[in-house]
Symmetry: C2
Subunit: 319 residues, 2 copies
């Protein structure tokens, strides 16, 4: 739930005057997204999303994110298209914050993952990976493998207060995962946060991918591993291999995984699980009571991590 | 900021199947409103608001609220029109909660009140009062004068912790206000919560009144007093008599206040100030840390109360 910045109607009118998108018709804060302030904006020409970037986003990186979205949208990926103002800039300022207008995507994110979602998701992820190939600028992944140990060190002292023995378990898991991390797999631009609430469906078709603000240049198959974590576990943390098989088959129909990528799936999934476990753990022990965000339970990813650590090979994922 | 209930896409589709409003196109939580869960819903036939009524609302009273809105909307008041399902019912159930679909109103609520807002507000309030006259059912105002002392008693013990001496000051003010409370003024259905965020404007015209869930049958001029409190104080708590004059003149152009109503404005304004002071005080001392609502500072209404207690007569309000 997130509207951190109140946008005055006068400030908004002045802001919109620099765009060729018509006059304002309606404007409402959106109770989704935890990093930025998002507003549903209707003008006389259509519907848009206005995003104000809050403090967790580095303003210097915004042109990369917006450029990637524009690149992908113009290559047929159903992601928000940044709208340029009359001066040609997609990144502007409102209420003292960097701000951008993007197109509105129809659809609804699935509150409960069904098998029928997983094929379209896999296909869209593969298409995103292919469409990103000719976007030249790169962005290092701060939340990739190199970032995990520093992140762990900032939460280590409080880990055992969340789950007894967690610090030692994570220490050992990190050693194992980082030692076995695959080099040399195909690299490209990854979404890196393609959870359910970032994927819209409409009439059983995937209608939109949103929230590219964790996107980075990293191992493509790691993005697949993130989706296996996010989409293929049941509420009781059982791994649903039917969903995984549907996702991977659809992904491979567009971009076949190499033998090396397939063989690396267990460690990539371990890495993805520990990445979300660590950020959740850090937020869990550092979110002040009364903050207007919902803390997400890190234990959900500990359960996933243990599954992946026990996976003997890629066949555990249905291929 | 409020979405207390997650609505599943499957549950939503099943819910919408009972309406004649087309298929679902988009669905987003709205970060406004503190009592209920509100969603922006687009279907193939247009835009709607879906509201799930949470625990603060008494389900037995919902038919009265929805009936009033329908009554007002069909008499030209720009308020949400409840949409009836195929079975004729406007009040239904979703995710275990009472739920209703209403029409979407364009416009934006003014983050900063300007004088130009106050005339249209006064005119709309008077029109609402007139349009409500032939809605027969009544609803007692639980937050009217009879409710203030019980509310105060529930917060008295902690009042001095918010402002030293506040308990004694409120005790004396309540005695004075309740002793001087006017009987016999014209009664009707009042909105009772017509704050800025419940009034939309578009192209300098008032385009919508929303959130009727505090509406009740009470002294009409008390509703005027609530608006004087809500709209005519500057951020430094100075009373802006120019705004008050604009609001009252426009109100009276549609529904002239009687001499008794005009003379009662100071005590009505005192009562309105103490009503919001008391609910804010109660929420302030009873909102648990971590709750997903913003507590509103009760002191803002103590400042207003003191202004009204010092007002010698109705001329303090520009008439």
């Amino acid at each position: 739930m997130a509207v951190y910045t109140e946008v005055g109607d006068e400030a908004l009118a002045a802001f919109l005057a620099d765009y060729d998108i018509g006059g304002m018709v309606a404007f409402r804060g959106i109770a989704e997204g935890v990093e930025n302030s998002n507003f549903s904006l209707r003008t006389s020409t259509g519907d848009y999303i206005l995003t104000l970037y809050e403090k967790r986003v580095n303003p210097a990186e915004l042109p990369w994110f917006l450029g990637l979205m524009e690149h992908l949208a113009t290559r047929g990926i159903t992601c928000p298209l940044p709208v340029r103002a009359r001066d040609g800039a997609a990144l502007r300022e409102l209420c003292g914050r960097p701000a951008a207008v993007t197109t509105f995507l129809p659809g609804v994110w699935p509150r409960r993952v069904r098998q029928e979602h997983c094929g379209p998701l896999g296909a869209a992820l593969a298409a995103l990976h292919l469409a990103g190939r000719d976007y030249p600028p790169t962005r290092p992944n701060a939340l990739g493998p190199g970032g995990w140990r520093p992140l762990f060190e900032r939460a280590r002292g409080q880990a055992d207060g969340v789950v007894p023995g967690l610090a030692a378990e994570l220490d050992a898991a990190l050693d194992q995962i980082l030692a076995g991390w695959p080099g040399g797999l195909p690299v490209g631009h990854i979404h890196a946060d393609l959870f359910q609430d970032n994927v819209f469906f409409l009439d059983r078709r995937l209608s939109g991918l949103i929230d590219f603000y964790f996107a980075a240049t990293d191992t493509l198959a790691y993005d697949v591993a993130i989706c296996l974590n996010a989409w293929c576990f049941e509420p009781d943390f059982a791994f649903n291999v039917t969903k995984a098989r549907a996702m991977l088959a659809a992904y491979q129909a567009t971009r076949p995984l190499s033998a090396d990528e397939r063989a690396a799936l267990p460690v990539l999934c371990q890495g993805a699980a520990i990445r979300f476990l660590l950020t959740r753990l850090y937020d869990w022990v550092n979110t002040p009571p009364g903050a207007m965000v919902t803390r997400k339970d890190p234990v959900e990813y500990l359960r996933r991590l243990r599954f992946h650590l026990a996976a003997p090979d890629e066949h555990a994922y249905g291929i």
